[in-house]
């Protein structure tokens, strides 16, 4: 069941449950983002791309996996847009598809080390696969 | 003996218009020669908030088939807040009439500004068409007041 780009953008909006039109493009989210330089597309662009239905590039980009979910953008946004929620919605739209998990089970063991807390593994599973 | 329906049904419509916006809007549709049916008769009130639900019931009692209330657009009331109160009152009244099973199309509120002569005429044309389709007011009539 392939979705076209517009439907995909719609889906992301639905998952987020939020309105990207509230954004006034001030860029405070991108000014606050600690992972900005790791990203190809940045928080304010995420919101804009979802709004415009220009999401294929976004979903293919590694940017969505760089978000640290630190909520700095959510906290500081003057328009209550919640960019982090859109980024998570984009990830969900991807990993909910068959075979699209970002984190594969077999990739996990080599990543582990002695001291790593359970929390790291649990949350990586929650965030990166379904 | 069957009474034959020969005469075309011409509804009686009462339009309450606020002095500052809608009454002026009605004047403007006249100035611009925009037609609407003669069934519509306008009563001038200072503000939509002057219209008591009793007036609307009274109109139906005395033989109106439709009642429309026109006022300034929300936010533009000459008295600042009058139409906001009118809006709540009419919403609740209309809902109650509907609750009693009276056709909800018979009552309407429209915001018409002094500049909207065309909107006034269009609104009245539409309202008269709606009421004509609906037919005579039977559910909120007072048989004593019926025209012979």
């Amino acid at each position: 069941m392939e979705k076209n780009e517009k439907e995909l953008a719609q889906l992301i909006q639905e998952i987020s449950g939020l309105n990207p039109k509230k954004c006034m493009k001030c860029g405070k989210c991108s000014g606050a983002c600690p992972a900005f330089h790791e990203m190809e597309y940045h928080p304010h662009q995420f919101v804009d791309m979802v709004d415009r239905g220009d999401v294929n590039r976004l979903l293919e980009s590694k940017s969505i996996w760089m978000c640290l979910t630190c909520f700095a953008c959510v906290e500081r946004c003057p328009r209550d847009v919640k960019p982090a929620n859109f980024i998570e919605a984009a990830r969900l739209a991807l990993i909910r598809q068959q075979g699209c998990n970002h984190l594969k089970d077999e990739a996990v063991p080599p990543l582990l080390d002695e001291e790593m807390p359970q929390q790291a593994i649990v949350s990586a599973y929650r965030k990166f696969k379904k | 003996m069957q009474v034959e329906e020969t005469k075309e049904f011409k509804p009686t419509i009462v339009a309450f218009c606020c002095n500052w916006c809608s009454y002026a809007g009605a004047d403007l549709s006249g100035t611009n020669r925009l037609n609407y049916p003669a069934n519509v008769k306008i009563i001038r009130v200072p503000c939509s908030c002057r219209v008591n639900p009793m007036f609307i019931l009274r109109a139906f009692q005395r033989g109106a088939d439709g009642v429309i209330l026109c006022g300034c657009h929300p936010g533009d009331c000459h008295y600042t807040t009058g139409n906001y109160y009118a809006r709540r009152r009419m919403t609740l009244l209309f809902s109650m009439l509907d609750f009693l099973g009276i056709e909800k199309e018979r009552t309407r509120v429209e915001w018409v500004s002094a500049a909207e002569g065309a909107k006034f005429a269009a609104t009245m044309n539409d309202f008269v068409a709606t009421i004509t389709k609906l037919g005579e007011n039977r559910r909120l009539e007072d048989i004593r007041c019926k025209k012979q």
Partner: protein, 260 residues
């Protein structure tokens, strides 16, 4: 005061220190922590999707268990605290999630966010009181310059968590003062350490955690305390500043109270 206690996955395993010291300290402070029976892992992250109900159910179970006992729900791990508080907020304010969760749980009395979720630090501040804590300290950590690291999950989003001022918090600094040490204020104490990436993207995690530790060190810190096992791990392993030890706040608390 008796609390329902939600330890969470990490405190039962890798971070058992955090748990142990917290319990011992609580005893001294006259607080009883009753671990919830059969608690389930909160999942470590709060699911942000509007239609994600199932991943929130574990939290709802814990919240309901506390409600049934008529107790507040105490947490230690900042992630558990974050997830539980936000799920609780959903249950109180998001009708869709409340209805779905309640339908699923089939409780006799539906749950609507009645439980109060409290972080251990909030308990120290609001129930014990830092003054009272100070009075109970037997080994004050005199002169030690300690930098508090808050991270993200304790503070943001502040409207839901209501923990402290998200940009200029002071609860941990007040805590540091209460145990007799000297707090170090540094600008990156509420910036992300990159913890969620600790497994998946080590480079990023290193970059972010070293910024935090560098900043603390530049401002004269001798050690750093945190409330999050993941932050702790990340700062320790990826922080790249060797002579700056990172502790759980409970460890220093136990030390100050003489129960370590």
């Amino acid at each position: 005061m008796v609390y329902s206690y939600f330890p969470g996955c990490t405190l039962k395993n890798k971070a058992s220190d955090l748990d142990l010291y917290a319990r011992k300290s609580a005893e001294v402070l006259g607080i009883t922590m009753e671990e919830i029976e059969e608690w389930q892992c909160c999942g470590g992250v709060y699911p942000l999707g509007a239609n994600e109900t199932a991943p929130k159910l574990a939290s709802v179970r814990a919240l309901v268990a506390a409600k049934e006992k008529g107790q507040d729900l105490l947490t230690l791990c900042s992630a558990c605290h974050h997830v539980l508080k936000r799920v609780n907020n959903d249950m109180a304010e998001n009708e869709n999630i409340r209805t779905k969760a309640n339908n699923y749980m089939q409780l006799e009395v539906p749950y609507a966010g009645e439980t109060k979720v409290v972080h251990y630090l909030e308990m120290l501040r609001d129930v014990v009181g830092f003054d009272q804590l100070k009075a109970k300290v037997v080994n004050p950590l005199k002169g030690t310059k300690i930098a508090a690291y808050y991270g993200c999950l304790l503070l943001r989003p502040s409207k839901v968590l209501g923990f402290d001022n998200p940009e200029n918090p002071k609860i941990m600094e007040d805590f540091i003062k209460a145990i007799g040490a000297e707090p170090v204020i540094y600008p990156y104490r509420n910036e992300c350490c990159g913890g969620y990436m600790a497994m998946e993207n080590k480079e990023l995690a290193k970059k972010k955690s070293s910024t935090v530790l560098q900043s603390a060190k530049e401002n004269g810190a001798e050690c750093v305390i945190t409330a999050c096992p993941l932050c702790m791990y990340n700062l320790k392993v990826n922080g790249g500043v060797d002579d700056l030890p990172v502790y759980y706040f409970t460890e220093l608390l136990a030390q100050a109270l003489g129960v370590k």
